[in-house]
């Protein structure tokens, strides 16, 4: 009888042979890709930092990829808003915007894609980095721009202390690359919160790994 170690697939073998501690087997990714396996010429939206490896992975499989570095766009918007606010504070007519209004202003210029455009969205952990007011609006917008049956892959950290960049290593392996401390984190998501955010989606499934990283798979 083969040992447990010898039963792992190529990805596991690759991961095991790797010295990087940031390689992890991802059940969420595995299911995500399984859902896309019958799609020819699909469209993918990657909302994380652009990664050559992830781009190649999907383009080689016939997907058309759009990348939208969402967190960095949000940070830029916040910086511009602060500057605008600083100027407008000098006015007698100044009224500060509520967090909801700020979120809406940002989304007026973000995620502006046609309805039912994408078969798949890589959300990664961007919800860990955004203000709470944005999250339900983003989930709604994602629903609108995705085709029926489309899938979203998301990651939620139980102890969000660092920012990460992600890249797909193979069909079931992700590399998480720490890139610095988190500047504005809200809180660790509970499962119920996650399911509520994606309540419009037909199906929601989460996986909690040994490292307490929670992966979410949401099907429109």
């Amino acid at each position: 009888m083969p040992s447990r170690k010898s039963q792992g697939g190529p990805a596991v073998a690759a991961a095991a042979s790797h010295s990087s501690p940031n390689i992890r087997v991802s059940n969420g990714l595995k299911d995500f890709l399984w859902l896309l396996s019958d799609i020819e010429g699909g469209r993918l939206l990657d909302l994380g930092s652009v990664s050559q490896a992830t781009l190649n992975f999907f383009i080689e499989r016939g997907f058309r990829v759009t990348t939208d570095d969402f967190v960095r766009s949000w940070k830029d918007f916040r910086a511009a808003e602060k500057e605008r606010q600083h100027i407008e504070e000098q006015s007698d007519f100044y009224e500060p915007l509520s967090p909801e209004q700020i979120a809406q202003r940002f989304l007026d210029h973000s995620l502006q894609y046609p309805e039912e455009e994408f078969n798949a969205v890589l959300l990664w952990d961007i919800f860990d980095h955004l203000n709470a007011e944005l999250l339900p609006k983003i989930a709604d917008r994602l629903y609108d721009i995705m085709k029926p049956g489309g899938a979203v892959l998301a990651i939620f950290h139980s102890k969000p202390e660092r920012s990460y960049r992600y890249r797909i290593v193979d069909n079931q392996t992700i590399e998480t690359i720490p890139i610095g401390p988190v500047s504005a984190h809200n809180h660790a998501f509970q499962n119920r919160e996650i399911l509520n955010l994606f309540g419009r989606f037909r199906s929601a499934k989460t996986f909690v790994g040994r490292d307490q990283l929670r992966e979410g798979l949401f099907i429109r």
Partner: protein, 199 residues
């Protein structure tokens, strides 16, 4: 199952300070699928320092041009340009202080600075980690350094290549591989409100 990407090589002589040595992979990295030497199986490393490229002509910092730019010489832009750029036989380098608001067509495009516009490279497009690009990107070969900021659509390869890739899709599938029992046993799966242990 895995088709290894051929290493990106320029089809014509490229200034070594721009094309290869500046993005040469660190010694500890294996040969890889991208011009930066980062492969899907390679651990991430800090990007190498990007030395100053050279070219036939330089649009220096502080210079601003509005209009259409065409020509056959290699060009570095460290200033500002608004309009359009067509250098179909040449290499265009947007330096770290360069800021372009234009669609760009060139044989090779290297971006270290900022571009608002679509990039179309006849041979390749390279985005360095210092760049910020807002626009669509189209080229037979695309190399993107970790840390680069890019928002847009990516089209790699001409239409024929795309068709060929479609035809080869059978060997490049999303089919799940055998799962590590250890990984599966440690996962708690929640569907809707129910939580079960994965077998």
């Amino acid at each position: 199952m895995w088709r290894k990407q051929p290493e990106a090589k320029p089809s014509s002589p490229v200034n070594p300070s721009v094309g290869d040595s500046s993005y040469a992979p660190p010694a500890q990295k294996p040969a890889s699928s991208s011009a930066f030497g980062s492969s899907p199986n390679a651990p991430s490393q800090p990007p190498p320092a990007v030395p100053r490229p050279s070219a036939d002509a330089v649009l220096t910092r502080g210079i601003c041009i509005k209009g259409e730019l065409t020509g056959k010489a290699d060009l570095i832009i460290d200033g500002d340009l608004q309009g359009s750029i067509r250098l179909n036989e040449s290499r265009l380098t947007v330096g770290q202080s360069g800021s372009i608001q234009a669609d760009i067509e060139a044989r090779e495009i290297f971006v270290y600075g900022r571009v608002d516009g679509d990039l179309r490279g006849r041979e390749r497009v390279v985005l360095a980690n210092s760049c910020r690009v807002e626009g669509d990107l189209e080229a037979p070969r695309v190399a993107i350094e970790d840390g680069a900021r890019f928002n847009g659509r990516v089209e790699m390869g001409p239409a024929a290549d795309a068709r060929e890739r479609q035809g080869k899709r059978g060997s490049q599938t999303f089919a799940p591989q055998e799962t590590s029992p250890a990984a599966a046993e440690d996962s708690e799966v929640t569907v809707g409100t129910e939580s079960v242990r994965a077998k």
